[in-house]
Amino acid sequence: MAASAARRAERRAGLFMVSPALVVFSVFMFVPIGMTFWYSLHKYSGFGRMRWIGTDNYATILSDHTFWAAAKNTILYTAITVPIGVVAGLSAALLLNRWMPARGLFRALFYVPVVISGVASGIIFLRLFDPLLGILNQIMTSVGLPSIDWQGSGFWALMSIIIVSTWQGIGFGMVVYLAALQGIPREVYEAGIVDGAIGWKRFRHITWPLLRPTTFFLVVYSIIGSFQVFDVVYVLTRGGPGTSTTFLVQYAYDQGFNQRKQGYAAAIGVILYVVVLLFTLVQWRVTKDRDEA
């Protein structure tokens, strides 16, 4: 029958066209994820023989102070950066949503830090935060504030990372919120005006509830993104002083490639994977419920 021949042709074409993607995803994503579990059950220096040690790596993690410090730092960093990023992105979007002169130029400039590499951003701020020669401390002392030893204390080192992350991320949040704001039909606002919803009231009762799915997306996306912050930390603080800016990804890298404990690094990788997967599933669940509602 012609119909089934056509269906067979479609099936063949479809499988053929996804096959390159399936090959690269199998070889460089699915197999490595599986192998990470396998490595995590071994002691391995990266060269020579692997030695099976069962769940010893995970037992070690449980009593590893540096691991828990890194986990705590990651959570603290996430808890501070994500809300700041969401508020900053939303504020920028509201600021630049409606007409004003040179609006497009403003939007573009807000977005510029997003396209700059983490390493270059780190170097730029390394200069700004420099305790002796940095312009930031010069400005602060010139207005009578105390100068800050940004890399000297754990608290300020973490703050410096948070400042750079916010600088890098504001443009992304803005674009996401702008897209959502443009999607709100004008009639919704016009109906609101009749009910007296203007200014803050309009934002509180109309705009903000309509943006809820966007906010949810951005929060989950930023949480997962904040588990991955590496480049800026590597350049700016190297995880220090002490372990005060060591996050889980830094710790995994350090264990795997500086300490050459690749099995242990893989075990940390497994934990990261499980956490990221949980957040991804939550996002799917909620998005799916919303779309079906």
Binding site: A21, R127, A179, K288
Partner: protein, 303 residues
Amino acid sequence: MTTPRDSSTSLADLAGEPTAVAVAAPAEGEARDSRRVTGIRLVIAIVSVVVLMFPMYWMIRTSLAPTSELSDLPVALWPKNWLWHNYTDPWHQFPFARWLKNSVVIAVVSVVLTLAINLMAGYAFAKLRFPMRNALFLLIISTLMVPIQVIMVPQFQMVIDLHLLNSNWGVIIPRLAEAFGLFMARQFFLAMPDELIEAAKLDGAGHFRTFWSVVLPLSKPLIASLVIFTFMWRWNEFVWPLIVLDDPNAYTLPVGLQFLISQFSTNFGPLLAMSFLSILPMLVVFAFFQKYFVEGVARTGLK
């Protein structure tokens, strides 16, 4: 994520806007704030941009100054003399030209290969019926947010086994599994009307002919977004090249830059000059194609 969204219509104003400094006329029928409110917003916007752009300015300002001027406190906001040799000297002292070449080769080859893979797969996942389609798509999308640190140990072993350490291919090949681009492509093709494809079929075109001569020519905005995002990700990438490359001649720009930090120590002038050179190509790409950055973010259905 499960429903297609055509974001291009609602974004028409956002994405297609000219960004000239000139006072742009408001889109027809667009609601405007009162003059006073617009004025307040404008002032806030100017102050914000000054703060946000200050680090960029300070990078350029520092890159043009001798070390002596920078340690002479307080540092003047405007350079006293313009020192260009920060931009020329490091080329002789370090294999900067090699790093630039490696970065260009890696970014360009990655763009070509990633696009070929993701355009085909995205189209098939959106428009063609084949067994296990949804399961395979979900499996791929589940890796969207997996950090490189999860798979770096086995991938490093693979690169060693393939003898690709210190090679451009060792950086390129393992990163071809790029779920974001695939997702972006599928969302775009889902929004494409079936009638277009049916019409091509009635003209006797097979699936590949339809894809090549009907679908792809209509996908220029998608292709532009994919080119730009893939280029940016690969150009800026740090962790994976840091793992694969340990020979200074094989470095990419980001890996080379972090190497220079230890070389220059507090001699910030040449370090920031090189940093600026490394981001300049990205800034040029952004200046010309910025609307595709915006469209790309919106197209992933992020709303």
